[in-house]
C-alpha cells in the first residue's frame, strides 16, 4: 500500500509521490490506501515535524495534510515549505473547516482546501492536479538548473558581453564600453551563442530571463 518515508524519491524521474500527513493513524492510513489505488506512490507521516525531518526541500510531489494537529499545524507546514522553496503542491484536508482558514491556505498556494468527509473523486482529482503542478514546477526548476549550468560554462568576459547583448547594445557600443576591439567583442558574442546553444539574440534573451 503506502510506504512511509523510508527512501529518497528519484529526483531524476517525474515526481509521482504523494505525501500524507495526518495525526490520526486510521485517517492517514486510509488516505494512503485510497490514493494508492491510483497507482501512485504514497508516503505518510504522523506529524508535520516528522515529515519535514524526512523530506528534502526540493523534492517534488503532492502533500495531503490535515490542518489541526498537535504541534505544527497543516497551515504552518504549508508556510514552512513555501519559505523553503519546496516544489510540493499542497492539498489541505480538514474536518474543522472555516472560511479564514481556507482563504489562508489557498493564498499560500494550496491546490485546494477539502473538507472531510470528502468525495474521493474530488480528492483524487486534486491530487492529480497537484502532482501536475508540482511536475511543472519541478520541470521549470530542472530547466533553470540546466540553463544555469550552461551559463556556468561562460567566462566572466563572456557573461559581461552576454548581458550587454541582451540589453540590446550593438557590438560597437559594447566594444567601447568595455574597452575591447570590435573584433574581440564579436568573438565573445559568438562563443556565448555557441555555449548557450542559442541561435538568435531573442533566444538568448529568453534563456537568460528563464534563468532569473
Amino acid at each position: 500500500m503506502s510506504h512511509d518515508a523510508s527512501h529518497d524519491a528519484e529526483s531524476s524521474t517525474p515526481p509521482r509521490t504523494v505525501y500524507v500527513v495526518d495525526d490520526d493513524p486510521a485517517m492517514r492510513h486510509s488516505l494512503g490506501w485510497l490514493i494508492g489505488s491510483l497507482g501512485l506512490e504514497v508516503q505518510s507521516f504522523a506529524s508535520a515535524e516528522e515529515f519535514l525531518r524526512a523530506l528534502k526541500p526540493d523534492r517534488p510531489g503532492c502533500l495531503v495534510t490535515d490542518v489541526r494537529m498537535p504541534g505544527m499545524s497543516g497551515l504552518e507546514l504549508q508556510d514552512t515549505l513555501a519559505r523553503a522553496g519546496s516544489l510540493l503542491s499542497v492539498v489541505v484536508v480538514t474536518g474543522h473547516a472555516d472560511v479564514p482558514m481556507a482563504v489562508r491556505a489557498l493564498r499560500a498556494g494550496a491546490v485546494d482546501f477539502i473538507e472531510k468527509p470528502f468525495n474521493d473523486q474530488l480528492l483524487l482529482d486534486r491530487v492529480h492536479e497537484a502532482l501536475e503542478k508540482s511536475r511543472r514546477a519541478w520541470e521549470s526548476a530542472e530547466r533553470k538548473r540546466a540553463i544555469r549550468a550552461l551559463i556556468g560554462r561562460l567566462t566572466p568576459r563572456e557573461r559581461q558581453v552576454a548581458a550587454l547583448v541582451v540589453a540590446g547594445k550593438p557590438n560597437k557600443v559594447i566594444a567601447a564600453e568595455i574597452n575591447l576591439s570590435m573584433k574581440t567583442v564579436e568573438v565573445h558574442r559568438h562563443n556565448v551563442m555557441d555555449k548557450l546553444e542559442v541561435a538568435s539574440v531573442a533566444d538568448l534573451t529568453r534563456l537568460l530571463l528563464e534563468a532569473e
Binding site: M1, A26, M27, H29, S30, S37, M69, G95, P117, D120
Partner: protein
C-alpha cells in the same frame, strides 16, 4: 300484762273521779317487782300524798316499758326512777328532775360501780387485766350494777361485749355476783358501789375475800368503787305536769325530816336539789344506750367518726388515687392523641420529605443530565469530527478497495487488510457512539467501586478531539494502585470532563505548547484526588469567589452551571471540589473522593 291491766284500771279510776281532784300519780320504777317497789317506795308516796291535801298521791309501779308508756301517754304526774331511766326519758320526752335522792353514803353523787375480784387473784390488778376473763354483772340495764362499770372498762380499753372471755348477767339478788366471784365461778364481778359493804354489814360475805379493781377515792363517799360517781335516783315531773304541783312535791320532799319512816323504807337520807345528770348523758352516749341507743345502729358511722382521721386519710388516698388515675388516664389519652397526631404529622412530614428528596434527586438527575447534554452539546462539532475520523477512514478504505477491484489491481492480501481496517474503524465509531450515549443517557445513579483512572481516561477520550483540534496537549499523569472510590462512574466522568473542558476553554488562544495536565493520586488522608491543571489566564478575584455559584460564567456562551453541578455531584459522593492557582500559571481544579470501603471477598 300487769302494767297494762293496771293502766286500764287507772284510766277507769281517773274518769270516775273527775269531779273531785284526782290523786297525784307517781310512777315508780319497780325494777325488782311491784312488791319490792311497794315496800321501798310506798311510804314516800304516802308522805307526798299527805302534802297534797284533798288529793293525795298514789304510787304506780311500772317496769321500764310501763314507765315509757306512762310518760309517753302522760298517765302519771311525777316519776321516780333510776338515773339511767331518767336520762332516757329526759332525752325522749322532756321530763325534768325536780329533786335528787340523797343517799346516806354521800352528800354528793353516790352511784358508781365496784369491779371486784377475789383478793388472792394476783394476776388481776387493773381493769385491763380483765381482757380475756369472765365477768359477771347484775343486768344489762342495771345502772350501777353494770352500765357505769361498762363505761369504765371501755375507758380502760376493755369492751365487755368483745374483749371478755365471757360476760354473764346474774339478775337479782345482787349477792349472786359476790358469791360467783368468791367461789371462782367468774374472774370478776360488777356490783353497784356500796353493795359489797352492805353485804358485809349483813354478814353475808367476808369483805377480806374481795378486792376492788382500779379503786377510786372520793372525799365524801365511803364505799369502795372503780368508777366515776353519778347522781342517785331523781324525782321528775313530766313536761305537762303543772308547775304548782311540782313545786308542792319538791317542797314536801325537801321538808322531809331525817329518819322519816319513808326515808328509812327507801334507804335514803333525804332529798336534795336536783343534781347534774349531764355526766350520765355522756356515759350513755359513749355506751350508746338509753337515748343514744340509735347510735348503735349507725355504728359504722360511729366507727367512721372514731377513726375519722384514718378514714379521711384513706378517703384522701382513694380520692388522690382516683384523681391520679383519672388524671393519668386523661394524660395518657391526651398524650396518646398528641403522640398520634405528632406521629401522623411526622409520617406526613417524612413522606413529604421523602417526596421532596425524591423530587430533589429527580431534579438533580435532570440537572446532571442536562449538564451532560450541554457539555457534549458544546463539544458537538468535536464529537462529530471525532466520529468522522473512523467514518472517513472507512469511506477511504472502501473506495480504495472499489477502485482496486475495478482496476483489477488489488492483491487479495491487501484487500483483506483494508476490509479488516474497515471493520476496526466501524468498531471505533461504535465505541465513540457508545461512549457518548453512555455519557448522556438519562439514568439513575449507580454507586459502584470506580477506578478513578478509568474515569479520567474516559473523560479524556471524550475531549480528545477538542484538545487535538485546538492544538492543546493533554497529559495524563495517573498514579498506579489507587483505591477505588464508591461513586457513579458517569457522574465522576462528567465532573472530570467538565473540568478538562473548562481547562481547554481557558487555554483558547494560548501558546499551544502549554497543555492541560490531569493527575490522580492520594492525599494525606487516604482520599483519592484528581487535579486538572491548565496554563490559561487564571482566575480573577471575583471569578474565584463566585466560581461555584450557579449561573456565574466567564464565557460568552456559558450557562455557568458546570462547576456548580460538579460540586453538587462531588459533595453527594462525600467529596469536595476547589480551585487553586497553578504554580506555573493558570488554574488547578482539584477534587477529593473518599476511598471505597474495601469489600472483603470470601
Amino acid at each position: 300484762m300487769v302494767a297494762r291491766l293496771l293502766f286500764v284500771f287507772l284510766l277507769l279510776l281517773s274518769s270516775h273521779g273527775w269531779a273531785a281532784e284526782p290523786p297525784v300519780r307517781v310512777g315508780v320504777l319497780a325494777y325488782r317487782g311491784e312488791e319490792h317497789a311497794a315496800v321501798v317506795w310506798e311510804p314516800t308516796i304516802r308522805y307526798l300524798g299527805d302534802h297534797f291535801p284533798g288529793r293525795g298521791a298514789e304510787m304506780v309501779a311500772l317496769d321500764l316499758a310501763g314507765m315509757d308508756a306512762a310518760v309517753q301517754n302522760r298517765t302519771v304526774d311525777l316519776i321516780l326512777t333510776n338515773t339511767g331511766n331518767y336520762v332516757d326519758l329526759e332525752a325522749r320526752y322532756g321530763v325534768t328532775r325536780i329533786a335528787t335522792l340523797q343517799s346516806g353514803r354521800s352528800s354528793g353523787n353516790a352511784i358508781g360501780s365496784a369491779i371486784v375480784v377475789r383478793a388472792d387473784r394476783r394476776d388481776l390488778t387493773a381493769l385491763r387485766d380483765l381482757r380475756g376473763r369472765t365477768l359477771m354483772a347484775i343486768d344489762p340495764d342495771a345502772f350501777g350494777g353494770f352500765q357505769v362499770a361498762w363505761g369504765e372498762l371501755l375507758d380502760a380499753g376493755v369492751d365487755p361485749f368483745r374483749d371478755l372471755k365471757d360476760l354473764r348477767f346474774s339478775g337479782f339478788p345482787v349477792d349472786r355476783v359476790a358469791f360467783a366471784v368468791r367461789d371462782g365461778t367468774v374472774d370478776a364481778g360488777v356490783l353497784r358501789a356500796c353493795v359489797l359493804e352492805e353485804l358485809a354489814a349483813e354478814g353475808r360475805i367476808d369483805p377480806a375475800t374481795f378486792r376492788v379493781l382500779g379503786p377510786r377515792t372520793a372525799s365524801d363517799f365511803a364505799c369502795a368503787h372503780s368508777t366515776d360517781l353519778y347522781p342517785d335516783w331523781p324525782l321528775a315531773r313530766l313536761a305537762g305536769t303543772p308547775e304548782g304541783l311540782a313545786k308542792q312535791a319538791v317542797v314536801a320532799l325537801f321538808q322531809m325530816p331525817p329518819n322519816h319512816p319513808a326515808a328509812k323504807a327507801g334507804g335514803y337520807q333525804g332529798w336534795a336539789v336536783p343534781r347534774d345528770y349531764q355526766p350520765v348523758h355522756a356515759l350513755f352516749r359513749s355506751l350508746r344506750i338509753g337515748p343514744y341507743r340509735s347510735l348503735r345502729d349507725v355504728s359504722l358511722v360511729d366507727l367512721a367518726r372514731e377513726n375519722w382521721h384514718w378514714l379521711a386519710l384513706a378517703a384522701l388516698a382513694l380520692l388522690w388515687w382516683a384523681a391520679h388515675s383519672l388524671r393519668v388516664e386523661h394524660l395518657i389519652k391526651v398524650r396518646t392523641a398528641e403522640l398520634r397526631a405528632v406521629n401522623l404529622d411526622l409520617l406526613r412530614e417524612m413522606a413529604e420529605r421523602r417526596r421532596a428528596e425524591e423530587n430533589a434527586r429527580e431534579r438533580q438527575r435532570e440537572i446532571d443530565h442536562v449538564a451532560r447534554l450541554s457539555i457534549l452539546g458544546e463539544m458537538a462539532s468535536n464529537l462529530a469530527h471525532e466520529l468522522n475520523q473512523p467514518l472517513g477512514a472507512i469511506a477511504n478504505y472502501a473506495r480504495g478497495c472499489t477502485r482496486r477491484l475495478e482496476a483489477g489491481t488489488g492483491r487479495p492480501a491487501e484487500l483483506a487488510d483494508a476490509t479488516r481496517a474497515i471493520a476496526d474503524q466501524a468498531d471505533r465509531a461504535a465505541h465513540i457512539i457508545a461512549r457518548i450515549r453512555n455519557f448522556v443517557r438519562k439514568r439513575a445513579p449507580q454507586i459502584e467501586a470506580v477506578d478513578i483512572n478509568d474515569a479520567v481516561r474516559a473523560a479524556a477520550a471524550l475531549c480528545a478531539d477538542r484538545a487535538r483540534s485546538a492544538g492543546i496537549a493533554v497529559t495524563l499523569d495517573l498514579a498506579d494502585g489507587l483505591p477505588r472510590v464508591a461513586a457513579d462512574a458517569v457522574q465522576i466522568e462528567q465532573v472530570i470532563l467538565n473540568l478538562m473542558k473548562n481547562g481547554l476553554d481557558a487555554m483558547e488562544g494560548c501558546p499551544p505548547a502549554d497543555g492541560i495536565a490531569v493527575r490522580s493520586g492520594l492525599d494525606g488522608e487516604g482520599r483519592v484526588t484528581v487535579t486538572v491543571a491548565d496554563r490559561g489566564h487564571g482566575l480573577s478575584a471575583e471569578a474565584r469567589e463566585r466560581l461555584f455559584d450557579p449561573f456565574f460564567t466567564t464565557k460568552p456562551e456559558g450557562m455557568g452551571l458546570g462547576l456548580s453541578i460538579c460540586r453538587t455531584i462531588l459533595e453527594s459522593h462525600g467529596g469536595h471540589l476547589w480551585a487553586a492557582d497553578n504554580p506555573g500559571g493558570g488554574v488547578e481544579m482539584r477534587f477529593v473522593l473518599p476511598a471505597a470501603q474495601e469489600q472483603k471477598t470470601p
